[in-house]
Subunit: 110 residues, 2 copies
DNA sequence: ATTATATTTGGTTATATTGCCAAATAACCA
DNA sequence: TGGTTATTTGGCAATATAACCAAATATAAT
């Protein structure tokens, strides 16, 4: 793989990596509804605030969310709404696979 | 986060995780053009065959590709073509961010 | 039958990720 | 001012990933 290709794909991989965690996916789903402060997201996720803060920093560095400080709180907003359409793609694939598995098992039984 | 939500998001995260590596993204791009055997992909990637084989197994376990053995070779095929449309989404975001950075720098200079 | 090619698997080492705690920072309130 | 709340950062321990080599397996070729 030449340097230029590797650089392009590494950049792209970083965005996938940022989304590759259940808590961060929950954050994205919540931010798709409306902006949220760290305390609200911490409540939803049920982990230590410091952990959630680090997850948010991963998403922010990838350009997926942005933050804005208002008073003592920091509010996060989704900056890449097109990830949501990929969730649909993933969901369809998961469903298709589950159905395929059932099919295989049905055939194995018969 | 309740158990059901966590399970759903973990599953989804596994798909993102499978795509979160430059070599695996290259594999997806190549398979988007046509099916490929392991040796062809190994050539393109420029890593040890065993490494490429393991990358392929990650993609296969995630349901992103499928494999078929023909003679001594194993041919891989893309099973989740909708990932390609997400690449566009990611690319647009990367470009938008790069332009934003330039803007910030321009303002800083003036 | 033996050799060569294609692919996967096991093992090891190096590196990256994740989670929590403690501490630092910042804004608000009494 | 002093205390409380919201958030981030540093550090550490546990776990997960990734790369290569060596070895195992399967097919093709001589």
């Amino acid at each position: 793989m030449d340097y230029r290709t590797h650089s392009r794909l590494s950049h792209r991989a970083n965005i996938f990596k940022a989304l590759a965690h259940p808590s961060r996916l929950l954050i994205v789903e919540e931010l798709a509804k409306r902006e949220r402060c760290v305390c609200e997201l911490t409540e939803k996720i049920g982990a230590d605030v410091s952990t959630v803060s680090k997850h948010l920093s991963v998403l922010k560095n990838a350009g997926i969310v942005s933050d804005e400080k208002r008073g003592a709180q920091v509010w996060y907003e989704l900056q890449m709404p097109c990830v949501l359409s990929f969730f649909d793609c993933v969901e369809r694939s998961i469903t298709a696979r589950a159905e395929f598995q059932l099919e295989v098992e049905r055939e194995a039984r018969s």
